[in-house]
């Protein structure tokens, strides 16, 4: 990817995009530098997924889920928020830039929002520049082994 098209991994709860057009766009028309990982609920997003994305070279990770009270599984997002925001703080503690992980909590009214959110995120990541923090598995950028 070029510097203007940072790699972004979008973890998306499969219930959070209500408008069919939005879901279609996310599934079929994402720009090449954006990668969709659909999960059954934000509660399914193991922090390891996020770490793996970053290690593998994602410049930014977006987590999109439902607003509170409208979770398909009632409170999956409530638990997920506690874990994922604590994880974001942990990564920040060891030197990762917290703005590279972004949460988007959406509801019925938000048709067309995901496109805008991704565009802003992309722009912000371009401004931030490339990062090497925690990037240890990116092809051609592999973390060496101590021997």
């Amino acid at each position: 990817m070029s510097a203007n098209q940072p790699n972004i991994v979008l973890f998306q709860c499969q219930w959070c995009l209500y408008a069919k057009t939005d879901q279609d766009w996310v599934e079929n028309s994402l720009p090449e530098n954006m990668h969709l990982v659909k999960t059954s609920c934000t509660g399914r997003i193991n922090p390891l997924f996020v770490l793996n994305a970053i290690q593998g070279g994602a410049e930014g990770v977006m987590i999109s889920g439902c607003k509170p009270e409208i979770c398909h599984f009632k409170e999956g997002n409530i638990g997920a928020r506690r874990q994922l925001s604590a994880f974001q703080k942990l990564l920040t503690h060891i030197g990762f830039d917290r703005s590279r992980i972004r949460f988007v909590w959406m509801d019925l009214q938000d048709t067309g929002r995901i496109q805008k959110e991704l565009a802003t995120f992309e722009k912000d990541l371009v401004d931030l520049g490339q990062s090497a923090v925690l990037v240890t598995r990116k092809p051609g950028f592999e973390g060496g082994m101590h021997d």
């Binding site: 593998g56 592999e142 082994m145 101590h146 021997d147």
Partner: protein, 340 residues
Amino acid sequence: MNYILSRNDIPKVLEMWSKTHQVFAPQKYSNFSAFLPYEGKAEQLCLEYPHNTRYPPKALFLPQSEELLSYTKDGQASEPALDAKPKLIFGIHACDTRAMTLLDTVFDAKDYQDPFWKARRESTAIITLGCDEPCSTCFCTTVEGGPFNRQGADIIMTDIGESFHLEALTPKGENLCKDLPYASAAEDRKVSNVQEKATSDMPKAFDTEGLKTALDANFDSSYWEEVQRSCLGCGVCTFLCPTCFCFDIADEAARSKRYRNWDTCMFSVYSREASGHNPRPSRKERTRQRLMHKYSYWVDQIGKIGCTGCGRCVRYCPVGLDIRAMLREAGKLPVEVIHA
């Protein structure tokens, strides 16, 4: 022949050897020491360190993680180049040098030779530094070795105060010493005193006579139940051990490479089979395996004990489990039990 290397000359001589060899020497690493490539920083050297390097030098020949091959999607595979550049290990203790010769019986055996191991071994010269002040955790003389054991060494080095005395044992060793001054007869005498004293000062840690018989006879003893209680089942004793060599092979698909990683019989996943069945289901079998392998199975296979008495496992076990104490106890177990 015997040579003299004065303390002050060490940096100069290491520098000289560095021209033709990649030199590894015990150097400061975090709060302890490890064999690291010598980069001209004499102040980093840890020749006086009270104990062996914490990280075992076996890693110089059997790296903890090592690439075996890389492959492409269309089925091409290639092996990495063998490491044949000349290397020199300076200041390794006798127990660790001897450990290499034990490991040769695994990786350079009659019917199987590991090319990676062999290439590194053949291209490496070893300068052993004998121990004139063995530590409280050392027990090399109990297990067929000694603080000045020469097995595997090209040169054996003795601290005689102002300088080190070097005795070249092989042509490789002679070749390295060719620019050093010869030792005098007085210096040679000093050496035998130091060596004899250090060797005779080492107490016997346990009795090896009849030990194997006792271990074999007590395979099913409840003693192992006792031993496993405080054991955590971590990898400290085996990873730090200079003679433990178990490995696991893993394909890292994301890198398109195959690796060999150290593994240990103390982990439950080590013996777990694909079906989920584990023939060593509990720590009882696993702690037993470590002792049995070193003190019985090695003896079956090569007629030697597979432990060199370096004391690392004793020193760094997080729960203070001491292999010497375990073997002392095991040695006392009744032998007839199994025949009854």
